[in-house]
Subunit: 386 residues, 2 copies
């Protein structure tokens, strides 16, 4: 029995990322690749040097093509089944960095169809509404509207279904069983769904009527979908999409990942300063039972969720994070001070984010694409022709 | 082992329609129901009295509702994988009669997605082109453009996929196995497809934002799809769709049904008079080995494909068909004369049909509905907003 589960529908337990690399057959991002990225991007994002983005498929090929004048486009996504928390934001921050450094388009998929199909109590309308709500958080991160196309699967259903047909014809249920573990009790929308998630990897190629490399930054749980994409798309004449994959932001409690569905493990983008304060103050740390003991023997940042938040999101300056770590180990930094520092940093980030999120409302039209498919209108127009 | 197979993807063998009624759990159309139909429609189509339309689900309920001021709409379809033959036309002629008698809307689905998914060598573009080609034959039959909405699944993919999601969430792969016999080697588009075929049964209800009864005239092989529709739609708050089901036009050769994929079993709507003449002259009959023998002991119309064509499509006058039958049995009517009569009738029908088919070309817009979903245009419009 594995101690952890990582599938597109469930992530739980203490994840062993080395084992994931072996099981999924993905490549670790090594020093040589980091050097190559730096050569082109002129800098390395801390998510790379800190191995938060830790693995990839064909990223070197993406860089080769880019350097040879064949630039890629970015594709990432979000399953809109609730509010956005910091764990969701992490890969998007990196995606924005990629857009900025490489000056490329981003296609952002909101998989409301998937969430409706996989989340039994979630209604169709709820899933769709979360698409629009979650889009505000995405826009707030500052993507370039000229180069960013956000869409709900429901809004772009025609384009997606038409192209998914060609993909679906090449995937059997046996493959779905083996890849995702879905069985005979799965609903037929769930079984079909992966073919919809493959389509955005070719949308730009379809529009430009030529083969364009696609790079997908994503959390590692989504790899099974894109493993299938990589099997199928070459059969349709397209490149295999490349990917760069990140680990999960851990829970504020002991064990597991930050999860919207488990209380007090996550900080949401719409949390108030008081909520953030309360959650961080209640967080699981590597500190000792008393301040006295902490001063004597020091804390343990390697198991501390507060330290992980500093490390993964809020203290990206290398000197500063080393300072926090060594002061903690030496007993010079107590949990209270360290937590206050994190609370301040999170609340400062959220203040700006929440302002930008509100300003994003009137900008939705500048980012979202959708079909014009109101059936009543379609019928009315047809009748006008008589 | 059954002697025949009737599924939406395969029809073969000598079909025992009584057994079908039992296995599918459909109701035979009895004298009482015929009487009720006549009461409302003021006449009975020969396809009813001759038991060509032989079975139904909830057709009595449809008539009850109609009489109580709650009219239904018609939904039927065509899988566009080749040219139209007379076997396809038969249920559509009856559908037109229903539209005329009850003055109701018809929603006509061209399942190019299905044909692409189930027909391995058929390309996506070919399936889509057959939709438009086959639509000409449908329009040629004289449906009322004000009340007829023809659509290719590919053209209406967004509307269909969005609504199919809600249906798919309620159908497991176990149900698909049991209903259609699809197994683990089926592609995931095939598995999902039935949810697309259910949607047209609620399209008018969606537009009108109220529950509207739906009647589906169709060949009996499609019953498994609509059995599922009847299970699922009430769970979404809709009526169970009703149906009225017909047998297959037999092959011109011995055994089986008229089939586009088996040579010389079918007469296509675009056949020339010479081709028709050749096919009918080569048809399997119930005649004797020589004219002399025929005159002595008579022919056997009950096994004769030529007689079946008279009976099912081309000699719909009751007195005339009885005359053909009795003269054949008595040895007064020889196969040559009987064939010539059929050839003349078919060619007369096809001459008119082919003319109307050509005239249908500029009318496509008056019948077809489609979404405006060109991705390039969608992206262009979005960029204009910046």
């Amino acid at each position: 029995m594995p101690d952890f589960i990582v599938t597109p529908w469930e992530v739980s337990g203490e994840i062993d990322y080395d084992q994931i690399i072996k099981e999924f057959g993905i490549e670790p991002i090594d020093e040589k690749l980091l050097f190559y990225i730096k050569e082109i991007a002129k800098e390395l994002h801390p998510f790379l040097t800190r191995k938060i983005f830790f693995a990839h498929r064909d990223f070197k090929w993406i860089l080769d093509e880019y350097r040879n004048g064949n630039p890629f486009f970015l594709y990432t996504g979000r399953g809109p089944s609730g509010d956005i928390h910091l764990g969701h934001i992490m890969p998007w921050l990196f995606t924005k960095w990629l857009q900025d450094k490489f000056d490329v388009e981003l296609w952002f998929q909101l998989t409301d169809d998937e969430k409706f199909l996989f989340n039994q109590p979630l209604s169709y309308d709820e899933a769709y509404q979360y698409s629009y709500d979650n889009a505000l958080d995405i826009i707030a991160l500052g993507f370039d509207p000229k180069k960013t196309f956000i869409f709900s699967d429901i809004d772009l259903a025609g384009v997606l279904y038409r192209n998914a047909l060609k993909i679906a014809k090449k995937i059997t249920f046996s493959t779905i069983r083996a890849t995702f573990g879905l069985d005979n009790s799965a609903n037929i929308g769930q079984i079909f769904y992966t073919s919809i998630q493959t389509v955005p990897a070719i949308l730009k190629s379809i529009i430009e009527e030529k083969n364009i490399p696609c790079l997908i930054p994503h959390a590692v749980d989504q790899d099974p979908h894109f493993r299938l994409s990589r099997d199928v798309l070459p059969k349709l004449g397209y490149y295999k999409p490349a990917s760069i994959q990140c680990i999960f932001l851990p829970s504020l409690q002991q064990g597991g990942k930050m999860s919207a569905s488990v209380e007090n493990t996550a900080i949401f983008t719409q949390d108030s300063p008081a909520e953030v304060k309360k959650k961080v103050n209640n967080a699981f740390t590597g500190g000792q039972a008393s301040a006295k003991l902490q001063r004597e023997i020091g804390g343990n940042p390697s198991v501390c969720s507060v330290f992980k938040y500093h490390f993964m999101l809020f203290t990206l300056d290398d000197k500063e994070i080393r300072n926090i770590e060594s002061r903690c180990r030496a007993g010079d930094l107590l949990c209270g001070e360290c937590k206050n520092d994190l609370i301040q940093k999170i609340n400062s980030f959220l203040k700006t984010h929440q302002e930008r999120r509100e300003k994003a409302r009137p900008k939705l039209d500048k980012f979202l694409i959708k079909e014009r498919t109101d059936l009543k209108e379609i019928v009315k127009e047809k009748l006008k022709k008589l």
